[in-house]
């Protein structure tokens, strides 16, 4: 099927390659939801590829304002105006001469310019010019037929509320419906889009985050658990931590392509265990990425130097990459997608998120948080990336809690770090709760973090860790 490539980042991916050609699409949303920028971005992207667009406004003077507001976007170009992007005023014709003349005007404009794309902004205003629903429906039907016969892909922009989408006649005629909306979530004002309908093609359902920035619109597809059964080649190789006692407990290291949760209270060394795992990989020529939401890069570098690790060398060589995202700025919808993009691009073999507790704090509901992690986990497994998620256990000496969000189901391996009280001193103990598809040592072992690195010591006689 022939398609109109939108050229908007990730939108064509959501649409399975683009919008079916000659379709009639409604872009709905309340004022300020980004509808006009959305279509303008599409028509200017297509103008650069040689396609011609006819943009018909229905409100006087809106063209002037529109062009003025678009000038700051990178997709906009003065050179394309009048040649590849042609503006017209359909509203004036309809108001003065009626619906029939409106269609004649449209046909004349089509014959004059032979556009590939026609936009009517706003169709909601046109609706108000008709005496009743029946005559408006007839107009929209004729409009749709005229546009498709002239092989035009059309966008009708309208300020529709969500409850109108199932009720009004224009939505029955539409081949595609994009609904744009915004909502406040925690500290972010976020914009979402949903593709409600797209005849003739499969598309990704659900809400997709989008941003309006200097480049125009950028879409971040919804992270979703795969509908089909997860299938991937099981690798039998192991990835070592380079921490002697721990690798022994794991029967040689973590199984390649698995996901490990390191849970522990503050100060137990979760970050250091995870970082050591990447450094060990770097030494073997495996690329690692450390995504930190807690400590900036220089702080991590300092700590690693203090432990005698050659972090600077691997950072300089590009074997190791540390990316710090402030938890204040963290937007899971956006970052989850970027993480997977980065992993794919850089052919990462070892990956750490430190910590996923920061993810949790930026997501409005716990189910969405689990869905994100599940989806990320599946994608990482498919790519055979051996991954560590660290998670903060806020209670220093509590009976064992892996995480509040029942994340243990998402992970293949769980390593617990915690404090124990022994003879009026605090010691650190680690235990392996599970390793999927492999044996592991069930003992609780004391460990210490010293200038020589991480040392796993012997069994602790009485740890009461699992009480």
């Amino acid at each position: 099927m022939e398609r109109l490539i939108t050229g908007i980042k990730n939108l064509d991916y959501i649409l399975g390659g683009g919008i079916p050609a000659y379709s009639l699409n409604i872009i709905s949303g309340s004022p300020g939801s980004g509808k006009t920028i959305f279509v303008q971005n599409i028509i200017f992207n297509n103008a650069r590829n040689g396609l011609k667009s006819l943009y018909l406004t229905t409100i006087s003077e809106s063209q002037l304002k529109m062009v003025r507001h678009l000038q700051d976007f990178e997709f906009f170009s003065d050179d394309l105006l009048g040649d590849r992007v042609i503006y017209g005023d359909l509203g004036a014709v309809l108001r003065r001469q009626g619906a029939s003349e409106g269609l004649d005007y449209l046909t004349r404009m089509i014959k004059e310019h032979l556009p590939n794309i026609v936009v009517i902004d706003s169709v909601k205003v046109i609706r108000d010019l008709f005496p009743d629903e029946k005559t408006f429906r007839a107009f929209v039907f004729e409009l749709a037929a005229v546009l498709s016969i002239w092989e035009i892909t059309a966008f009708l922009v309208g300020e529709y509320e969500e409850q109108e989408l199932t009720r009004l006649s224009e939505f029955a005629i539409a081949d595609g419906i994009f609904h744009l909306y915004g909502q406040e979530e925690k500290r972010f004002q976020k914009r979402y889009m949903r593709v409600l309908k797209m005849r003739g093609t499969s598309f990704q359902h659900g809400e997709h985050l989008f941003q309006i920035g200097p480049v125009g619109i950028e879409v971040y597809p919804r992270m979703r658990p795969e509908g089909e059964e997860l299938r991937y080649d099981v690798k039998l190789g192991r990835k070592e931590f380079g921490i002697c006692g721990l690798d022994e407990m794991l029967c040689g290291g973590l199984l390649e392509g698995t996901i490990t949760l390191i849970s522990g209270a503050t100060g137990t060394g979760k970050t250091m265990f995870a970082l050591k795992f990447l450094l060990e990989g770097a030494e073997k020529g495996e690329k690692g990425v450390f995504l930190s939401f807690e400590e900036p890069v220089d702080q991590l570098q300092n700590t690693a130097r203090c432990l005698g690790w050659e972090i600077d060398k691997y950072l300089a060589e590009g074997q190791l990459e540390i990316k710090f995202i402030s938890p204040v700025e963290l937007d899971v919808d956006k970052h989850a997608f970027e993480i997977l993009d980065m992993i794919g691009e850089k052919k990462v073999e070892r990956f750490v998120i430190d910590s996923i507790s920061s993810f949790e704090s930026s997501v409005t509901d716990i189910q969405k948080y689990r869905d994100y992690l599940w989806a990320i986990g599946q994608q990482l497994r498919r790519r055979h990336v051996t991954t560590i998620f660290t998670v903060l256990n806020e209670d220093l000496f509590s009976p064992l809690v892996v995480s509040r969000a029942q994340l243990s189901l998402i992970t293949d391996n769980i390593i617990i770090l915690r404090y124990v009280e022994d003879n009026s001193s605090i010691r650190k103990v680690l235990g392996i709760l599970k390793t999927r598809g492999s044996n592991h040592d069930n003992s609780l072992r004391e460990y210490e973090i010293s200038p020589e690195g991480i040392n796993v010591l012997g069994r602790l006689a009485k740890a009461d860790m699992l009480k």
């Binding site: 050609a21 000659y22 014959k111 037929a145 005229v146 498709s148 016969i149 002239w150 092989e151």
Partner: protein, 122 residues
């Protein structure tokens, strides 16, 4: 109307009517009417006389065209109709997909002994 002119035009009128029927199965008569209107406009840029074609949602007729041919026997009707048919089928193929357009073309070919193929090869 002379028998010769009736024969010259009649062949194309039958072909156009078959095309109309075959494509309205997929497009509906309203859209077929619009498609004819589009193709008439496009061909009229070269052959103004194509505007003599009469059509509405009930069908298509070449009566006025035949009358004009009576006045001007040199009218290049063959070329004009072939351009019309070729363009019509081209657009139809893009709108419906080549598979369905081929079905329509095949049906017409069978009834008109390869006229349509010859027109598309031009």
């Amino acid at each position: 109307m002379s028998e010769i002119i009736e024969k010259r035009i009649g062949r194309y009128e039958t072909l156009l009517k078959e095309m109309w029927t075959a494509s309205s199965k997929y497009l509906g008569t309203f859209s077929v009417n619009l498609l004819v209107e589009r193709v008439v406009w496009e061909v009229s840029l070269e052959y103004k006389e194509i505007e003599l074609l009469q059509y509405d949602q009930n069908g298509i007729s070449c009566a006025k065209m035949a009358a004009r041919l009576e006045e001007n026997p040199d009218l290049p009707v063959e070329d004009m109709f072939m351009k019309f048919i070729t363009r019509y089928v081209e657009i139809l193929a893009r709108l419906l997909g080549y598979e369905r357009a081929e079905e329509i073309k095949k049906k017409l070919d069978e009834e008109f002994a390869g006229d349509l193929s010859a027109s598309r090869e031009e």
